[in-house]
Symmetry: C2
Subunit: 200 residues, 2 copies
DNA sequence: GTCTATACAGCGATAGAC
DNA sequence: GTCTATCGCTGTATAGAC
């Protein structure tokens, strides 16, 4: 029952197609017809699997939460906090082509749902919270316990902003250059953390 | 013919209402009925002033470009490059309530138009470019000529990211805390600029 | 489980009276 | 310059045959 299986059930194929389309076109701009075309089923058949479009959104967010949790768990294998934080920054580089084309999947979804004041808004924010808490814990391990959450938000904000600008300007090189600046900032934070640990 | 006049013509009142609604609800989510209710005119009457909804958007972007240009010109009165750059950061603080509620007007509009691949996308990006060029020039004046554009994008990204997170989390305090971190970063850049000027 | 047919609301846009 | 009336289309959602 792997989530990317070729023989996935109809329900799962709907969720996967909706996930991709919500990312590429936005939630509101994606219609049932769009998803139906992608999954190759009729429009009416949706309502056997979901009661409404909002319910599809809920399923998409749940799937993203699960995938994000697994990714963060995978990063735990890195040797030290600095290497783990670098995994996060590296994500911006790895996904630079899709970010250039469609922005950050988390930021664009949360932004749209916030502007629509959509009921699923809080659920989507959990995606941000997952990263925020994970980053804060790694900054704390780095020896920056007191300012850990502030630094986590700073790094989260930087990656969000870079994604926003790269998307708007449709500029891949912007990501590569800014990633280097962020890495330099992280190195500086590591040195500050080491100093704080020394004096403690 | 001041732009905020109470006795503004219908056309201008449409642009002002559309500007506000596009910011609060998003472009696609705002209908003619919404604007008509705000301006207190009938739906049909729109087409005497504009040929389409896209044309209203063009007018809104043009108005924002003009207003932004005037604001940047006003910041020129500050004593030195460091003070001028601080004006930019301060903007995040001054507008923190509307940013918390609706995000950054530039970032959310450019993000939506980019995702829709809307024809007016490039025009909206000019708003970003206005800030980018202005910031780069001030960083150059600060003595950071070689990296001026990279630093400008870094600061722009930071402010965009803070706006995105504050909007998603509906959190005003987040802005105040992150503004302090950004100001500390700017101070560091000022010192680096001074060193570079010394050695030159 | 999947289909076709359809209801019903809202959208952008047009025509024409005043 | 502003109005009412209406068109054509697309959206979500439902009913019911197979």
């Amino acid at each position: 029952m792997s989530s990317g299986s070729k023989e996935a059930g109809t329900r799962q194929r709907i969720v996967e197609a909706a996930d991709r389309l919500f990312y590429r076109q936005g939630y509101e701009h994606t219609s049932f017809s769009d998803i139906a075309d992608a999954v190759q089923i009729s429009r009416g058949n949706f309502y056997y699997h979901f009661r409404s479009k909002d319910e599809i959104l809920d399923a998409v967010i749940a799937a993203r939460l699960a995938a994000t949790g697994e990714m963060l768990a995978g990063w735990e294998r890195a040797a030290d906090p600095a290497a783990r934080l670098r995994s996060f920054i590296h994500l911006l580089f790895v996904n630079r082509l899709s970010i250039k084309a469609h922005g950050c999947p988390v930021g664009t979804l949360c932004g749209e749902l916030a502007k629509l004041d959509h009921p699923a808004r809080q659920e989507a924010n959990e995606l941000f919270t997952l990263f925020r808490a994970w980053l804060a814990r790694e900054f704390a391990r780095l020896g920056r316990g007191r300012e850990a959450d502030g630094l986590a938000l700073h790094l989260l904000a930087l990656s969000q902003g870079v994604a926003t600008l790269a998307h708007a300007f449709d500029d891949e090189a912007l990501i590569r250059r800014q990633v280097r600046l962020i890495e330099a900032w992280l190195d500086e934070q590591c040195r500050a953390g080491a100093r704080e640990k020394q004096s403690a």
